[in-house]
C-alpha cells in the first residue's frame, strides 16, 4: 500500500469514528499460522499481518505493574500504561495495514496464549492454530535446516548448535538428502527431544488457557483451528473463522494456489518455506528411535490433544 492509500485508509477510519477491531492469531511455529492468516486475508474486511511479537511488551508491562511499591504499579499510572499498550498494538497493526476496506486487523505471531487470558487489546479474540506435534517437528526441522547460521544460533539451544549446523550444511549441499534418507531427518536425539518437549509445553499451556476460558474462568475468547481438520475441509474451517470474527463468510474470496490458501502445496519442495503442507507426513521420517524420543517427551500431549488414544503408535 502506498502512502496515499494508507492515508485514505486512515481518513476512512477517522470518518467512521471507530477503531478497527483487532484479533490475534497464535500457535506453535509450523502449526499453520501462515496458512490460516492467508485464509483470513481472503476476506475483504480482514487484514492479518505478522510477525509482530508484541507479547513481550505485554509481559514486561505485567511484570513492572506487579511492583506495587513503584508508581507504575499504582493508579492512575497503572491503567494508563494499559491504555498505552492497547494503543501501541492498534497503531503497529495499522502501520502495515494494506487493505482499505478492512475493518478487522490481525496480528499473526507464533506465540502462546497469555496465561491470564487477557488480550493486549481489551476483548480482542484469539484464533489458535494447533497441529500434530510430530508433523510440527518434521516441518520445524526442515525449516531450520534452511536457515542461516545466525538464525540457527538464535533458535537452537547452544549444546545442539554444532551438530545442527553440520546437518544444515549437508542439507544446503544436497537438498534431496532427506528425501533419499528419510531415516536421518530425525536422527538428532537431543534436538528431537527438545523440539517435542517444547511443542508439548506450548500446546498444553494453550490448552489449559482455552479450557479455563471455556469454563468462564478467564476472559479469553479462543477459536481453536486444527490444521488437520482445516486440511480435510478448508471451506468449513474458514467459514468458522470468519463467523467467529463476526463477518459474513460469503464475502470471502476463493482459495487458490496463487494465494497459497489451498490445502497442501501440490508437490514437495524441501528448499521452500512452503515445503509440503501435508497431514501425517511425519510417518515418512519416524524411525523407532524417533518415535520413542517423541513419546517420552510429548507422548501425553498427543493423547491430551486427541491425536492418539494412547502411547501405542
Amino acid at each position: 500500500m502506498n502512502r496515499l492509500q494508507r492515508l485514505a485508509w486512515r481518513v476512512q477510519r477517522v470518518v467512521a469514528k471507530a477503531p478497527p477491531a483487532v484479533f490475534f492469531l497464535r500457535g506453535h511455529p509450523r502449526s499453520g499460522t501462515n496458512w490460516v492468516g492467508a485464509l483470513l486475508n481472503l476476506h475483504p474486511k480482514i487484514c492479518c499481518k505478522g510477525e509482530f511479537h508484541l507479547d513481550g511488551i505485554r509481559q514486561t508491562v505485567r511484570r513492572i505493574q506487579a511492583q506495587t511499591w513503584h508508581v507504575v504499579g499504582r493508579e492512575p499510572v497503572r491503567s494508563i500504561l494499559d491504555q498505552c499498550v492497547d494503543d501501541m498494538v492498534r497503531r503497529c497493526l495499522h502501520a502495515v495495514a494494506d487493505k482499505p476496506g478492512a475493518t478487522i486487523l490481525g496480528d499473526r505471531t507464533p506465540h502462546t496464549l497469555p496465561g491470564d487470558g487477557e488480550a493486549m487489546v481489551e476483548g480482542a479474540p484469539f484464533i489458535l492454530a494447533v497441529r500434530d506435534g510430530r508433523d510440527v517437528v518434521v516441518s520445524w526441522r526442515y525449516h531450520l535446516l534452511r536457515q542461516s547460521e545466525t538464525v540457527i544460533r538464535a533458535t537452537v539451544p547452544p549444546p545442539m548448535q554444532e551438530r545442527f549446523l553440520a546437518d544444515a550444511a549437508r542439507f544446503r549441499a544436497e537438498p534431496g538428502f532427506y528425501a533419499s534418507h528419510p531415516d536421518r531427518l530425525l536422527a538428532h536425539e537431543e534436538w528431537v527431544r527438545h523440539a517435542a518437549q517444547r511443542w508439548s509445553n506450548w500446546v498444553l499451556h494453550d490448552r489449559g488457557v482455552t479450557q479455563r476460558a471455556e469454563r468462564g474462568e478467564l476472559p479469553a475468547k479462543v477459536l481453536e483451528v486444527r490444521y488437520e481438520r482445516l486440511h480435510a475441509d478448508v471451506e468449513a474451517g474458514r467459514r468458522r473463522m470468519y463467523e467467529f470474527l463476526g463477518l459474513e463468510a460469503d464475502e470471502a474470496g476463493p482459495v487458490s494456489e496463487r494465494s497459497r490458501t489451498t490445502a497442501g502445496f501440490g508437490r514437495e519442495d524441501a528448499g521452500s518455506f512452503y515445503r509440503h503442507g501435508e497431514v501425517g507426513d511425519w510417518k515418512t521420517y519416524a524411525t523407532e528411535d524417533a518415535r520413542r524420543w517423541f513419546k517420552e517427551s510429548a507422548g501425553q500431549a498427543l493423547v491430551d490433544l486427541e491425536y492418539e488414544k494412547d502411547l501405542n503408535w
Binding site: 509482530f52 513481550g56 508508581v71 507504575v72 492512575p76 503497529c92 538464525v151
Partner: protein
C-alpha cells in the same frame, strides 16, 4: 568544580523562556497539556546512590514533581526486542517508526499522569529510577546522582541483607552469603560490633563491585557523549558527598538547572527526609544511616583488594581517589 561535573554541564543547559517549541507527546521533552507547557526530566544513578534523597529535594520546589519508579528501562528493552530478528515486522519501517513513537508517547503519558495526580501545577515532571543513563526523550534533561562506590557497596549490602535481596537471597550467591544472612537475621545490629564481617563474603563483594563498575562505566560514557553534544541530553551531576556537605548550595544549583528560582523551594526537614543523613542508625530500615565515608568502618584489607581488582581505576575516574593506594 571537578572535571566530571564540568563534562556533564557542558551540554545545553535548560533556561526558562528558551525551551524548544512544545510538540506532540514524545516528540520533545516539552509537552503541551492542559493549556500549558510541561517539561519532562529523568533522575538516575546506581541504586543506593541517593536518588531518593535528590528526588525528595526536588519535590520541595512547587514547580517540580518527581516520582519513581516508572521502570522505563524495562519497557525500552521490551520495545528493542520487537526488532530483534529480521522476520519481525518491527525490524523495518513503518512499524519500527510507529513503535518508537508509541514508546516515547508512553513515557510522556505516564509522567503527565503522575504529575496530574501528585502536583498538577508543576512545570517539570521527573522519573526517579535508579538505572543507567539513557536518552528516552530527545532533549530531556538528566540529573545523575553519584556516590562513592564504597559507600554504595556498604549500603547495598545492608539492603540485600534486610530484604533477602534478589542478588544474595537466591541464585549463585545464596550459598556463599548464607552465613552473612544468618548472622544478620539473628541480630540486625551485629555489624556494629563486628564491622569486619559485613564485607567478608568475597563472592558478593566482587559481584557487587563488578556490577557497579559496569553500570557506572556505561554512565561515564553517556556523560562524555552528552558533554560532547553527541546525545541531546542536558546533564546535571549531583555528588552525594557534596550535597551532604552543602545542601543549600547544591540544591540551589539543582533548581537553577531547571530554570527555577531556589527561593521558591520549601526548606528541608526530617519529616520530608530531605536533611542530610538520618538521626539514628537503623540497620533494619531503608533509610539506614545516610553518611558519607561510612565505608571506612567496614572495608577490611581483603575487601579493599577484592574491590580494587574488580573496579580498576574507577575510583580515580570518578575523582574519589587519585590512585589505587587507599
Amino acid at each position: 568544580m571537578a572535571a566530571l561535573e564540568q563534562r556533564g554541564t557542558r551540554a545545553r543547559p535548560v533556561e526558562v523562556g528558551a525551551a524548544p517549541r512544545a510538540g506532540a507527546l514524545g516528540e520533545s521533552h516539552v509537552v503541551h497539556t492542559d493549556g500549558r507547557d510541561v517539561r519532562l526530566f529523568f533522575l538516575c544513578g546506581h541504586p543506593k546512590s541517593g536518588t531518593n534523597w535528590v528526588g525528595a529535594l526536588l519535590n520541595l520546589h512547587p514547580g517540580v514533581v518527581c516520582r519513581g519508579e516508572f521502570r522505563f528501562e524495562a519497557l525500552r528493552n521490551a520495545y528493542d526486542a520487537l526488532e530483534r530478528h529480521w522476520w519481525h515486522v518491527a525490524s523495518e519501517a513503518p512499524v519500527k517508526a510507529e513503535a518508537e513513537r508509541c514508546f516515547r508517547e508512553t513515557v510522556a503519558r505516564l509522567m503527565i499522569a503522575a504529575m496530574r495526580a501528585h502536583n498538577p501545577a508543576a512545570s517539570w515532571v521527573g522519573d526517579r529510577t535508579p538505572r543507567a543513563l539513557a536518552a528516552y526523550i530527545p532533549g530531556a534533561p538528566q540529573v545523575y546522582v553519584l556516590r562513592d562506590p564504597r559507600d554504595v557497596l556498604v549500603s547495598w549490602t545492608f539492603q540485600e541483607l534486610r530484604e533477602g535481596g534478589p542478588n544474595i537471597g537466591a541464585g549463585p550467591l545464596a550459598a556463599a552469603t548464607a552465613p552473612l544472612r544468618g548472622a544478620f537475621a539473628a541480630d540486625p545490629a551485629i555489624f556494629r560490633e563486628h564491622p569486619e564481617r559485613l564485607l567478608s563474603c568475597e563472592a558478593w563483594v566482587r559481584f557487587a563491585a563488578r556490577r557497579y563498575a559496569r553500570h557506572v562505566g556505561g554512565d561515564l560514557e553517556f556523560i562524555a557523549r552528552a558533554g560532547g553534544g553527541e546525545i541531546d541530553a542536558p546533564l546535571h551531576i549531583v555528588r552525594y558527598e557534596r550535597l551532604h556537605a552543602d545542601i543549600d548550595g547544591e540544591r540551589s544549583a539543582l533548581y537553577r538547572f531547571f530554570g527555577l528560582d531556589p527561593a521558591g523551594a520549601a526548606a528541608p526537614t526530617r519529616g520530608t527526609r530531605t536533611l542530610p543523613g538520618f538521626e539514628t542508625e537503623d540497620p533494619a530500615s531503608f533509610f539506614r544511616k545516610g553518611q558519607p565515608a561510612d565505608w571506612r568502618r567496614y572495608f577490611t584489607d581483603d575487601a579493599k583488594r577484592w574491590f580494587k581488582a574488580e573496579t580498576g581505576d574507577l575510583l580515580a575516574r570518578l575523582e574519589y581517589e587519585t590512585g589505587t593506594d587507599w
